[in-house]
Symmetry: C2
């Protein structure tokens, strides 16, 4: 489907679910963007879920988002159970404002919901020539090191910096060994999953995708990944006064209440110490890495974000393929 | 050897190498601390190296450390080629001061040297009831994902937070799969190293410790660990105006110039959003994780920093065992 027509459709659906034109614009934009960077798991496939949660009053389509200014560098946002896209969009813009004025910005967001890809927000800060971290928690999927039950989300770390060229450096990584989407795909296609990435319900390593979905995923690098996921649970959940410790509801499966998710954005002006030389030095840094002798099977060394940018550039020229199941969902959502 | 006597000895050695009493006190304290937490690789084993570098004027024993205040939250420190302990000690105290006053603190340090364990500095901030990140770069040891030559250091991520109890949460992890010390030990004892943690010079995975030392170590979780190591190179090296991109000299092997290392400390008052409830919530968070059903082979789930704290508590009651080789080194250093 043509991108613009598709976006208009999605926007209409959100408006039918009582969203304002402005918020529907933000949300449809982010959903399309997910498709363009090849992250379909965060795109149209979630539209019905967001709408279902709005219908059941688990996401507030008309939130009164309150921003409390704590200092010239810090703000605290009560998202009033807004869809995550809208709360995070306001949040990152605030964090950008802070860093532009004072060199550093910190924005905590409480009472929010799933916000899509962290890189959406990181990119905005990087485009304004800032360094940025984005943290969010997520529903239980990961067993802490030493446990056999999931508690942490696949809690992503996202870090971005300007590079002095058009493609930003954006590291956006989950703390699980493989993405949940890969396990779901293996489940659908009847494939095995790699050894050592997930456990079944009883805590035994499994290569069976069905058992893995019912069990738990494993963090990267044992206690290191577990520690990172824990850190992110603290930063986005505990610090911001949001859900934490495994209490974040799964948006697809758990309709017993709102998610109460937390996000944390931290922005830094990278010119704060060495001025414009920052851009010169980061360019040099990337060049030094890229010209290293390549390992077997590698033609190029890419920095984080480059691959996603290549996918985006390819997809932006094409129509977006919408699976028939999702087209059907969209028809039904539009009919209410 | 009795701890106090040993510390006095080390202090004397530093003073003989032209350090001030105050700086020698700081350095001897950190070296002893490394031994107490079981990190001998960062303790007495490095004393001779620090002294050698001072003798060769590659570390300045009488640095004029300049602190430039950039805002109420940000300072920039020129360490004047100080030993890392002293520069970082001043830096973390500044970062604490900033966060206490404004809720957030950022301190960049340039022209420094190896500073021991990041957790030393994180602990100080946590004791003052702050959240903290410490970043430092390190000499090349790790191949970027896709390369067959080392460029990044084993660049540690260190994050700390108060827990509402006596043992702080301190995640202090290298971005390499195993520590370099483990490879050196395998080399000494003629043991094999695990498969998949290091490559030989030609870029082939090796289990031979000798070949691994000459080759490169691999990052945790492929491109994820490589991305994290890169992020830390940018934060501590590029941002602070220090060495980066594989230009940090190895303190043991490379006497062609100073290390020009960079450190970055970031502090946050965790009560900034939810007040004293932070301590209540973090306690709850830790409790929820700890009471999960345990995986096979685990009696307890420990949070980052707990294990090191247990070792410290055990060691603080004992004398410190000094290997004869190091005793000999100390005698020689004291004789100059």
């Amino acid at each position: 489907m043509k991108r613009n027509a598709l976006k208009l459709n999605i926007k209409k659906i959100f408006i039918k679910h009582k969203m304002s034109d402005k918020h529907a614009e933000i949300c449809s934009d982010y959903l399309i963007k997910s498709e363009l960077v090849g992250a379909s798991s965060h795109g149209l496939a979630r539209l019905k879920m967001y709408c279902d949660r709005m219908k059941k009053k688990l996401i507030n389509p008309k939130p009164k988002i309150r921003i409390k200014k704590i200092s010239g560098s810090i703000s605290y946002i009560d998202a009033n159970n807004s869809i995550g896209f809208v709360a995070a969009d306001i949040g990152i813009k605030k964090a950008i404002e802070h860093a532009k004025k004072t060199g550093i910005g910190l924005v905590g967001i409480k009472r929010s919901n799933h916000y899509g890809l962290s890189s959406f927000y990181a990119e905005q800060a990087v485009k304004k020539e800032l360094m940025v971290w984005c943290f969010t928690n997520a529903p239980p999927a990961l067993a802490p090191y030493g446990a056999k039950k999931a508690l942490f989300g696949t809690n992503p770390i996202c870090f971005g910096t300007p590079t002095g060229n058009k493609t930003p450096f954006i590291l956006d990584m989950s703390t699980s060994i493989i993405n949940r989407g890969k396990i779901r795909r293996a489940q659908k296609l009847g494939l095995k999953i790699p050894y050592g990435v997930a456990m079944d319900k009883s805590g035994k390593i499994t290569t069976n995708a069905n058992k893995a979905i019912l069990g738990t995923q494993l963090p990267i690098a044992d206690f290191k990944g577990s520690g990172l996921a824990w850190m992110i649970d603290i930063l986005s959940g505990v610090l911001t006064g949001s859900s934490h410790g495994g209490k974040t509801r799964d948006p697809f499966d758990d309709f017993s209440g709102p998610q109460n998710m937390g996000h944390l954005f931290l922005t830094i002006n990278p010119k704060i110490f060495i001025g414009k030389n920052y851009l010169k030095e980061i360019k040099k840094n990337i060049k030094l890495v890229k010209k290293l002798p390549k390992a077997k099977g590698f033609k190029d060394i890419l920095y984080p974000g480059e691959r996603k940018n290549l996918i985006y550039k390819k997809n932006i020229k094409r129509d977006i393929a919408v699976p028939s199941k999702i087209l059907q969902e969209m028809k039904e959502l539009n009919a209410i």
